[in-house]
Amino acid sequence: MKKILIIEDDQIVSNVYRNKLTVEGYQAEVALDGETGLKMMRTFQPDVIVLDLMLPKMSGVEVIKQIRSEADFSKLPIIVFSNTYLTNLIQDAWKAGATKCVSKINCPPKELLELVRRTVVGGVVSPALPKTEGVPVTKPAPVVSEADAEFQAELRKTLIASLPATLVALRAGLQSFIKSDTEVAQLKHIHELYRRVHAVNGNASIAGLVPIAHLAAALEALLKELYENPKNINSSTLRTVAATVDFLGFLFEHGTRPDKQEIPPASILVVDDEAVSRRAIIYALEKAQLQSVSVEDPNAAFKLLTENNFDLVFLDVDMPGMTGYELCTKLRNLPLHKKTPVVFITILSDFDSRTSSMMAGGNDFIVKPFLFIELTVKALIHVLRGKLQPAK
């Protein structure tokens, strides 16, 4: 019997994985933190490790480094669960020696089973077989059965029932963070909020609640950034965190229907006269797989807006020929864009001109230099709200 060690701090997630693996005939054990995981590895001698990157006591990357430093485990397959928005961390995991990095959001329990099966058969544990991804497996292919669907539906039902209490806890955590009067208290409350959001991400991922999992993953990455770089805590990032917690409440109410479990394709327009900022915005949107069209000339942008539907518009404020405010006022007169969300991107000194942005018909603004993940989070909120808003 092949042995799988799961190193994952979320007890719900780890138990779901363990149960699924056990039912499939594996011997699975769980460690709730990295240090315990390393100790168990030495005694349990697993064939595969399934590792969450965000762990207590010792980070997932440190765990990988330690595993690779021990001769007996230097080639042990390690499947890493990561947050798709923490790209630097994923790079670090690869460099440290991860065998496979997968996003929790894209890896519900049955996908994990398939991945483990392929790794066990094609991985280092069976040297006679090639390690190549996608080799035919000798075990029967996973049966995507009614049982799987029922299992997922049951998970989802349980999680949905707990969402109101989760929202109360998130709001309480947000209030504590916002009201913190010292940096030490602020960091403590960010960390607590981060932990709650991390749990929401993990639970929503295994339950297949895709929009909730995506937004929670993005918020988790933003909170991690703020915790590790407190200089980035400002009125803009605080507003974004608050808006995201608020929008999670919206998703808890409107984003759990089975037919809403995907990130819908969206059309986004970026208008900025300066090429580097345009490119930065496009990269930030791509983190959430959001495609965009960008233009430097506000008049060309207005022509595009006249002829096309967009789900979201990012506007620089200070542009030659026509300011972002003027462009926004004009687009509000177009029948297509009376309600299209418009987010102004403004440098810090413009931040007090929020009245101008609202008067022009803007919905939101973000301060340059923006955190890329902050822009990603804002884009996700506006796109998802537009797609999931109940028709009136």
Partner: protein, 152 residues
């Protein structure tokens, strides 16, 4: 104070305690690098090609903007100084050009005030800083390239 990397420790407080400064001890000098590489790497997801593309774009755009700034300062065109410096600040701040941004902000401020009192001097500092950024990024992107030979 930079906190330790985030983790999910249930058992210990995440909030680090600030060390007590020693009485009379001078604060240690912290070297500020010209570019926050973490920021650039985060934006480009560690992809070397994307990073190179973005850096090339920044060099090209900023070279043009500095030329415009120099001309505007010489011609004492305050509004032009404000406009170009403002645009340059946006890109430079977005990409984490830590020491370059305050100089551009000063030029923007003087331009907005209509009085370019020390603008020529600030421009010279900004141009020097941009050269340092070019050398720094060239070394990051291609460690084998002698810094002074890059993007000169």
């Amino acid at each position: 104070m930079k906190p330790p990397p985030i983790n999910n420790d249930e058992t210990t407080s995440a909030a680090p305690t600030a060390p007590s400064p020693k009485a009379g001890a001078p604060a240690p000098a912290v070297e500020v690098l010209p570019v926050e590489m973490d920021r650039l790497n985060d934006l480009t997801d560690g992809n070397a090609d994307s990073l190179r593309e973005l850096v090339d774009l920044f060099f090209k755009q900023t070279t043009q903007q500095l030329a415009q700034l120099e001309a505007a300062v010489r011609a004492n065109k305050a509004e032009e100084v404000r406009r170009v410096a403002h645009s340059c600040v946006g890109a430079s701040a977005t990409l984490g050009m830590t020491r370059f941004v305050p100089l551009l902000r000063e030029l923007e401020k003087q331009g907005a005030s209509g009085t370019l009192t020390t603008a020529a001097q600030v421009y010279e500092e900004a141009a020097r800083e941009f050269k340092l950024i070019q050398n720094f990024l060239a070394a990051q992107l291609n460690p084998a390239t002698p810094p002074d030979a890059a993007h000169s």
